[in-house]
Amino acid sequence: MVLVTPAVAMVALFVLFPLGFAVYISLTNWPLIGSYHFVGGSNYSELAHDPQFIHSVLFTLLYTAIVTGPIFIVGYAMALLVRGGRFGSVFFRTAFFLPFIIGLATESFMALLELQPDSGAADFVLSHLGLVHANTAWTVSYGLGLTAICVFVTWFASGLTMMLLMAGMQGIPTELYEAAEVDGASWWQKEWRVTLPLLRRNIALALIISVIGSFLAFNQFYILTEGGPGTSTQPVVMWIYEEAFVQYHLGYATAGAVALVVVIGIISAAQFYLLRDSNDKQAAG
């Protein structure tokens, strides 16, 4: 009991209490300074009609819909490349995962420089390929900003998908492939009939983790486009941050945050269900 007390106390104090407190705040008109009173569910009904909040939700969904596929496909391809443990695969794996380790904040500052018109590497490379003008300003336009960030995030996050899929691929018993070979299966058939079915759970996990990450996007937008032009590239977490700590509408912002917790909670519950499933199966086997 004594051993687990500090951990439980910290989780209770800084996760569970704030969670309950968030629900309480969301039912008030809490300002940063001064008194507050209860407003019932009016923050929530106001959210449903707030064009800016709705835009940030839709924008986050659009962003998630765009990046999830490329992150998965690139990650899967890289997992295929490194799973065999051949000469060089540890080096490749390390390289592919490097962006995830260094983190989006630091890399966003690097990208800010490379996305500048005339001086950035993006314009330098793409204009030499004849794709864009050398003075394209990526971060001040909705379409260009979103495109650049999606490519950037795919580069950042596909390494994580690779790691999760690689672990699953390496757990598939070799005998299954040998049996398929005896039956004369081609490479494609082995991948389609053996790898994919046995990798279903890892694929689901990788997708869930990727989607949660996209729903919580903040750094890349805050640093690269500042949510702009206007608030056109403002994801949900940035809406919460701006509403709470720039506009000082803490009650209203927290109502949006509670909605986000519910959505993420539902997605994570699916993740835990999958993990539980895998643990039970292993315990039984």
Partner: protein
């Protein structure tokens, strides 16, 4: 505390901590079944792909050593001929970057150590001692992993503020520690579950206390788990952005990402991109060193099944 008993010992469940680094991998075999041409194709493709991930960092390092007027020009042949450390010396003298790097380091080391101590204690407790409701308590700790801290910024800000923990590096470390604990407790509990019960039992027969058993007998066996926990906590803390942005507003307490943001937004007039690039390079150094050096511990954590997204 309930005394340890054999009945309370849960057998080590292999939770898929397969050695991710093992050589023989299914479905592909070694070099043989690829053939000479296939292997050459694999090496070429892999190298080209690896360059896509490494070159931007190498380019950033190179640019950080260019004079500012070249950084804000299109890349050219000049880039390699006028290398200078001016960005770094300028950063140190005018931007106080060493203070910010020190703040980041302090918070990251503090978070790593605190997480390791608390998660080891809790992991030991959950793995070895069964008390009333321990299963439920463990489930609650694990479930908090589902709650994104990004959505709790407002209540956390008000709470930390009333405790005097905003604009406070210790407060930031406490916040980071809390959100690393569920993962750490999970990893440490699994680590303890994989140690044969007889080892600590033998220590108990020899008269060692629970604490002594933990510190001297089990230590070498749990070090990999601790390394995984510390590594995750350190890297999380070092790279975290939105929490620091919310809880730290005083310039002298900025962590590195905040100092970089200040260079982007806070500066009057033009952004000094040379400084910004040099600052980004400073921020990525510990990540690269730790990851390349301790990669196997990092992958252990990933493969253990619960990942922070």
């Amino acid at each position: 505390m309930t005394a340890p008993s054999r009945a309370s010992y849960a057998p080590p469940a292999d939770r898929g901590q397969r050695p991710a680094d093992r050589l023989a991998a299914p479905g592909s075999g070694g070099r043989r079944d690829l053939g000479r041409a296939g292997f050459a194709l694999y090496l070429t493709g892999g190298t080209l792909a690896a360059l896509v991930f490494i070159l931007p960092f190498a380019w950033a390092v190179l640019r950080s050593f260019m004079p500012e007027h070249l950084v804000t020009q299109a890349p050219s042949g000049q880039d390699f001929s006028q290398l200078t450390t001016a960005n770094y010396s300028g950063l140190i003298q005018t931007n106080d970057i060493l203070r910010y790097a020190g703040n980041s380091l302090l918070v990251a080391v503090g978070t790593g150590l605190l997480t390791a101590v608390i998660a080891t204690m809790a992991g030991y407790g959950f793995a070895r001692f069964r008390f009333r409701g321990s299963g439920v308590v463990f489930a609650i700790v694990l479930v908090t992993m589902m709650i994104p801290f990004q959505a709790l910024l407002t209540p956390l800000f008000l709470e930390l503020h009333s405790l005097g923990l905003t604009n406070n590096l210790a407060g930031l470390a406490l916040f980071y520690t809390t959100f690393n604990l569920p993962f750490g407790v999970f990893v440490m509990r699994n680590t303890f579950l994989q140690i044969p019960w007889e080892i600590s039992e033998a220590a108990a027969v020899d008269g060692a206390s629970a604490a002594r058993t933990l510190l001297s007998v089990l230590r070498p066996l749990i070090l990999p788990g601790i390394a995984t926990t510390v590594l995750y906590a350190f890297l999380f803390s070092w790279t975290e952005f939105v929490g620091a942005l919310t809880f730290i507003t005083s310039n002298s307490l900025y962590t590195l990402p905040l100092a970089l943001l200040n260079m982007e937004y806070g500066s009057v007039g033009q952004v000094n991109f040379g400084y910004l690039e040099a600052g980004a390079v400073i921020a990525m150094i510990p990540c690269i060193l730790l990851y390349v050096g301790l990669q196997r511990f990092y992958i252990r954590g990933l493969v253990s099944g619960v990942v922070k997204g």
